[in-house]
Amino acid sequence: MLNLNDAHLAALITKPLTVAQARQQIGTAYQQEADRLANSPLWESNDEALTALLASYTNLLGNKLYQALQNLTSIPTPFLQTLWLQDTTADAHHSEIAVIQTTQDDNNTLLTIVDPLSDDAKLKAVNLPTLLQITAADSNAMTYDAETVKALSALAKALNQGGYRFTTVDETVLQPVNGLSFKTRFDNLKPLVAKKAVIKAGDFSIGTSLDKDAKVLGYQVLDEDGHDWQDLGSEEVKNDRFEWASTTVPQELVNHRLKLIIRVSAGSNSPALDELFVIASNNAILMRQGAKAGVYELPLPNQKIFTVMINPANNMVYLKYPDPETQIIELNHQYPFIGEWLKAVLPQKRAFN
């Protein structure tokens, strides 16, 4: 149901387009036509016709994407020759294009582009290399040979250039490190502890430093028998430091060790960050504090900075890397600690999530 008399549409069909151009221009053409029908009393509730319209444009986009991919020099020709695309349309608003690799024995769906004509289109990995495969001790875990992995990586990049992205971190390692995000758990109630001996009766103070984003929920000042002496003094939080001071510490506490226990809610208390810290330290990579609270920078030997940002408000971890195209598989190849860490905190490990 394409109006081939429309010169603009006819031109789209014959002209070679990149992935991004195809998505944008066919998307716009479809939207215009869909809007026209949606505003027409005759067509607006004709789901079957609207579904057919979406199917036609999805099919056209599939063909143009196929053409665009075949023209790419970044993907080896032998691999391109095994690819084919299949579009399906479920209803007037949902369609998909599957990217399939054919083999001697069967058809292997690599990924699907979900709702490819819409602004919130996304990629969904079906059979693409995963974190578990690339970090497995068993070399047979990876079902693709090295050449195919390279070609798949280039294919994913080509689709990324069209603005198509995977949406979950654990579906495949063929997605850019930059911009990855995932949920994690925060130990928001980790206690901070400081101990100090009382040398003389009277004045006494004990304190510890707090993280910038820490919120004090409560505290205790315990002696060695577990009695709380908090009421003997008062607390002050100043310049990221918590201090409890008293002027009336009794003689009986002399030579006792008082223990200050502060319950804080602090963004930095995350098992996933601790895991990264331990792994990075083992690999002689510094995990330094960034300029802002909740931002940690890992300067890599390649002079690039891998950044981890946390947001305790929504329990999310965000990753940043200066090369927008570098995929997990590539960075992991260079610095396996990245994969080691991601594997430890993903997917859905209970200790971290």
């Binding site: 502890v193 400081a194 430093s209 310049n239 330290s281 510094l286 995990m287 330094r288 504090q289």
Partner: protein
Amino acid sequence: MSIEASLTYQKKFFNDFTDAWHKKSRYRLYQGLDATAENLRLDIEETPGYILAYDKTAQAELHDFLQIGLIDFLRQHIPFFEVNDQGTVYFGNWYHRREFGHINVILRAITQSADEQRRILPQLESFSDDPDHYLDRQLDAMRKEVYRDVDSLHTQIDNLEAENAPERGQATQGNSGFRGLLKNFIDPSDDDQASPSQPSGDASRLKAQFDKEKLTADDIFDKRKRELEVSAAITRYEFQAVMGTYSSVAEFENILANLKDDFMQSLKLEGGRTHA
């Protein structure tokens, strides 16, 4: 000293101190504090009060002025120390970096008031002795401690089994030790393994206790293992920072011990340049 001589000394001292303040010479101000402490046998930290007639505002002004100098010096002198404007000294700029101490402006030293701070240098020394096995040694020690009761129960069970062994005659090798005992109480009717009822009851009780304690110990072990790993990672960063600047932990400790002398030397040179 005669009254005359004493008053002359005091007059000269206060003239000098005033001049030092006007010229903003930290070196000469510290010299004044040091001389007062020595001559009057005062604790150095009491000298600003004595000189400034115990006026809190004046003491705070002197303290703040001197503090800026010490912080500047420290930031350059030990580059991996992060010193905030209030004088808190942090070891490094990494995640989980520790508070090393707080500067004492009058003493010209870093004081460590908390146990956690005082543990840093001994940990560095220990790490430096054997960087590759620092964590392993701690994990081994912790494992022994956490599993002490579990191991003791295991031994008791083994002993109990040994006592029963003669009654079973030549028990097969595969059933020796703990596994044999387990089989013993799981299947007490087994003729070959038949043993008096008393040890079997003891064995069940011990086994139940063993299972319970083992579970608890496993939990504690996992939790403390992570704590030790994080703690070792912190010490490793600190060690790497130290070794990136100095030849050894001992040299770093030496630098800390000589902080006051090095600071005064630097102020002296700075003064020389200013007045050149």
